[in-house]
Amino acid sequence: MPSLKAIRRRIVSVKNTQKITRAMKMVAAARLRRAQQRIVELRPYAEKTREVLQSVASKVGPEAHPLFQAREVKTVLLLVFTSDRGLAGGFNSSILRAVDRKIVELEEAGKAVEIAVLGRKGRDHFRRRNVTIRHDLVGAYEGGATRAAEIARTLMADFSAAEGGVDEVIAVFNEFKSAMTQLLRMQQVLPLVTPAAAEAEASAGNDYIYEPSREALLNTIVPMYVEVSVFRAMLESQASEHGARMTAMDNATGNAKKMIASLTLEYNRARQAAITKELMEIIGGSEALKD
């Protein structure tokens, strides 16, 4: 049995850890509230943009815009959303594991894979591996919507490049469900996913009046949609990160509490044992003196 002093030291140490995890939980909770509000506000805008884009796309067909056109895929760009900091439970590891699997899968299919990564954790992970980091986007979260739009423009340029570009862009991020749950999503960003032919047939009936023209409209909506998709993934990822960290830190605080309770029990037992032992010795000593 460890000495009384050793147990006491451990209790103090665990208590300190608990203080830290509790503070981190509070901070994560505050950040989560803000991040959650932002993503909840953005979602209707993103959804509406998607709806309009889909309904236009179904009427005009894939020839109408270069970003609708799928081609033979030789190079895939994975846009990976991780966080700068750790201690967020399985937040980063689940995403990175999924990406690693996806890379293997794509490479086995004979495709080249390149990475665009947000968040220091992801960048460090890919640096250790033998993958091409095409865009290092660490620090992009702070840039907000403006930075998201820049990233979107970079992606579109990559996709449209005559050579040395990419043929497909897939975003990998955690979608925010609640503080407890995040949903891992792999979403094709480029080429834009347009409704299947059957659906297109059904809604082709009433075309819009376009002002000024269909082409001009597509040239407005398509880039806007790509921008908002990137921005949305960014906000989803941030809210998920804070949610994951809050949950992880809440668990850690709970575990520390349990540990303190069992250590305290052990401490009291050891103390009691020491007292009993001392008593026995005193009694033993006085018994010996009697005769």
Partner: protein, 151 residues
């Protein structure tokens, strides 16, 4: 059932469900009698019963009448989707005329105009585009404020 009544009445004296949506949430959500919005080709109006329309918007002023009152808001560039009984405006920003800080807007507009004048380089450089966009947005806010009777 209510939907049906509304639709049949849409051609005469119905209402349009107007929604102005921005990345920071819905800025306007109202049942309105008419809407005017600034397309890139000029202003256009939408009454109930309008044919499906998709219009690209530039920064400007959106006017609408709801329950006998007129409202004026400034919107940034984006687009509008209109149908017989609903209209959505998607824009990166929107501010109500009453919330425009005219003094600040005018000051920034002067600043941006000065920068534009000082700017060298090609007409379609990204920097110039950025400045022109912010100038248009500031002008839209001032227009909205002016129209609602503030100066």
């Amino acid at each position: 059932m209510a939907e049906e009544t509304q639709q049949s009445g849409a051609t005469r004296g119905g209402v349009i469900r107007l929604e102005v949506v921005t990345p920071v949430g819905a800025a306007v959500r109202a049942d309105v009698d008419q809407v005017e919005a600034p397309s890139v080709d000029g202003e256009f109006g939408v009454l109930p019963g309008h044919l499906p329309l998709l219009a690209a918007l530039k920064a400007g002023v959106v006017r609408y009448r709801s329950a006998g009152k007129s409202f004026v808001v400034a919107v940034g560039p984006g687009f509008a989707e209109a149908g017989p009984e609903a209209m959505s405006i998607l824009t990166d920003r929107c501010v109500e005329s009453a919330d425009v800080d005219t003094a600040a807007a005018r000051a920034s507009l002067d600043e941006v105009t000065r920068q534009l004048d000082a700017l060298q380089g090609s007409v379609d450089s990204a920097e110039r585009g950025e400045l022109v966009r912010s100038a248009e947005w500031l002008q839209a806010q001032l227009d909205a404020a002016k129209e609602s009777g503030r100066n």
